[in-house]
């Protein structure tokens, strides 16, 4: 007997049939994208470009975080003496600094040591040998107790500012705070761009799926006439969106990896010149897995948006 709301009882396809149909649709969707390889490649490149910027910013943010974590323990400041300050004046001040309770270590660098170090990094070492006088000052790196706050660190450092032989005092912690502020800025920028470019990926996927829907308009009409449900009709387009998203994520992964390879060596040199050793973050499987999932979801949403919108417009109901 029929349901009171339907002329005939509903025939639900068995779960195994739905599963089989999904497999068949996946195969057809892969075939579709390979037959339309030129268009698919263009879509992958567009989506990949849109995804690589927020993904790259995310990696930059993570690496800055790693750097700031590494330098978290650097409770130190540097004192730069005026050029020409005698070794005796330097040692006198160093003894005075060592007398402070919080100070745990003072390392001095003579003008000659500074010049040697500079020469080892610089490409103008030959020019430096021509100088009659050493233009670099002596310096002292002062490390204080880990427990000392930034305020206390600044207070200790400021005690020596008024001394005549001192030219400049640089508190690294302040630099670290600026780094953290930049890190936060990049993080927020990453989120904003992530949302904007995510919407872009959805729109790109929707536009490409819409094209696929247009190409199969007649087929959709026939399927609807023989009783296909909306879910059945939409299925291929959702998989096409998913494939576009996954392909775009793959392109983004390649772009980000290539950028990391290109930037890693010069960045390591910069970090090591500051005395840091940085292990770059970004090549973990979890990052690429997340990128693939994000691409798949955004592509799928694009497919859903396009097929829903177009199916509503098809006037056969």
């Amino acid at each position: 007997m029929a349901d009171s709301n339907e002329p005939w009882p509903r025939r639900r396809p068995p779960i195994v049939a739905t599963f089989r149909d999904h497999l068949s649709v996946i195969r057809d969707s892969v075939q579709y994208t390979s037959h339309q390889f030129g268009k698919s490649l263009l879509v992958w490149l567009l989506i990949g470009t849109a995804m690589s910027l927020p993904a790259g910013l995310y990696l930059i943010e993570r690496n800055l975080e790693a750097i700031s974590e590494q330098w978290e323990s650097l409770n130190s400041f540097s004192i730069y003496f005026k050029v020409g300050t005698s070794e005796e004046d330097v040692n006198k001040l160093v003894r005075q600094i060592r007398g402070q309770d919080e100070v745990v270590k003072v390392t001095t660098t003579t003008p000659k040591e500074a010049l040697d170090e500079f020469s080892s990094y610089s490409e103008i070492r030959d020019a430096l040998t021509l100088l009659e006088i050493n233009p670099l000052p002596a310096s002292a790196r002062v490390t204080v107790d880990d427990e000392a706050s930034l305020e206390r660190l600044s207070e200790v450092a400021s005690q020596f500012e008024a001394i005549g032989s001192v030219d400049e005092i640089v508190v690294e912690r302040a630099w670290l705070q600026r780094l953290r502020a930049v890190d936060e800025l990049i993080s927020r920028l990453g989120w904003v761009l992530g949302i904007l470019f995510g919407m872009g990926v959805v729109l790109i996927s929707a536009a490409s799926v819409r094209l696929a829907v247009e190409m199969r308009l007649e087929e959709i009409k026939v399927l609807k006439l023989v009783g296909a449900t909306n879910a059945f009709v939409k299925r291929p387009f959702l998989y096409i969106g998913l494939i576009h998203g996954l392909g775009g994520a793959l392109v983004a992964a390649m772009v980000v990896s290539a950028s990391l390879i290109l930037l890693e060596v010069p960045l390591r040199t910069v970090w090591s010149s500051y005395g840091g050793t940085v292990n770059f973050r970004g090549d973990e499987p979890a990052f690429y897995f997340t990128l693939a999932i994000a691409g798949a979801i955004l592509g799928l949403v694009g497919g859903l948006v396009a097929s829903n919108q177009r199916l509503r417009e098809i006037n056969i109901d």
């Binding site: 029929a2 009171s4 709301n5 339907e6 002329p7 005939w8 509903r10 025939r11 396809p13 068995p14 049939a17 739905t18 089989r20 149909d21 007649e218 087929e219 009409k221 026939v222 399927l223 609807k224 006439l225 023989v226 009783g227 296909a228 449900t229 909306n230 059945f232 056969i316 109901d317």
Partner: protein, 234 residues
Amino acid sequence: MSKIEFQRVTKRFDGGGDALKDVSVVFPEGTMTFLTGHSGAGKSTFLRLLLRAENPTRGQIFVNDVNIVKLPVRKVSTYRQNLGAVFQDHHLLAERSVYENVALPLKVIGMRERDIARRVRAALSRVGLLEKERLGARALSTGEQQRVGIARAVVNRPRVLLADEPTGNLDPDLSRDIMTLFEQFNQVGTTVIVVSHDRELIDAMGFRIVELAGGSVIRDDDSRNLDRRKDGRF
């Protein structure tokens, strides 16, 4: 078994006149009816309303005592899965093979591939196209495409069979074969409505005739069905 009833159905298209005007007609379950009339009489609109491809401007259409005019959109697919429809312009997928076209209604309901193959080949055999199952629909003649459309309509063993000029492109012998096929479906309980203006064929078949003109029923000759019932042919 399906009873179909039109109750004071009017269909008016935007910018046009009434395709159907206040039509009331009943098709008892398990009957076969020819719907006839001149071009523009409203025959195709009649079938489109039954397919829920259109909704009437006024009136109700009951199928098995359920008003399909008020059928929620999400239930329309299930409704159509129980209909078999032959379209005047075939509605075949040109890029797909004959087999794939006929298999569509079965794929939609999630039938197993093995059962699909059996049913499709049986249907193609009935319309004489088994040897052409691998050909693309585009490669067929108009008459053959018509037969593929007929095979697709019957492959799902529908409860209601609707055919819009199913023999329009077929020779007289093939037309009679197709009508015999419809009659066989009717004999096992399928309600069949055939739109045709082939008077010779309609008269030869001896089923009920409903004639439309200007969107109204001008003739409903049910006596022929009665005769067939008396003959024990139902």
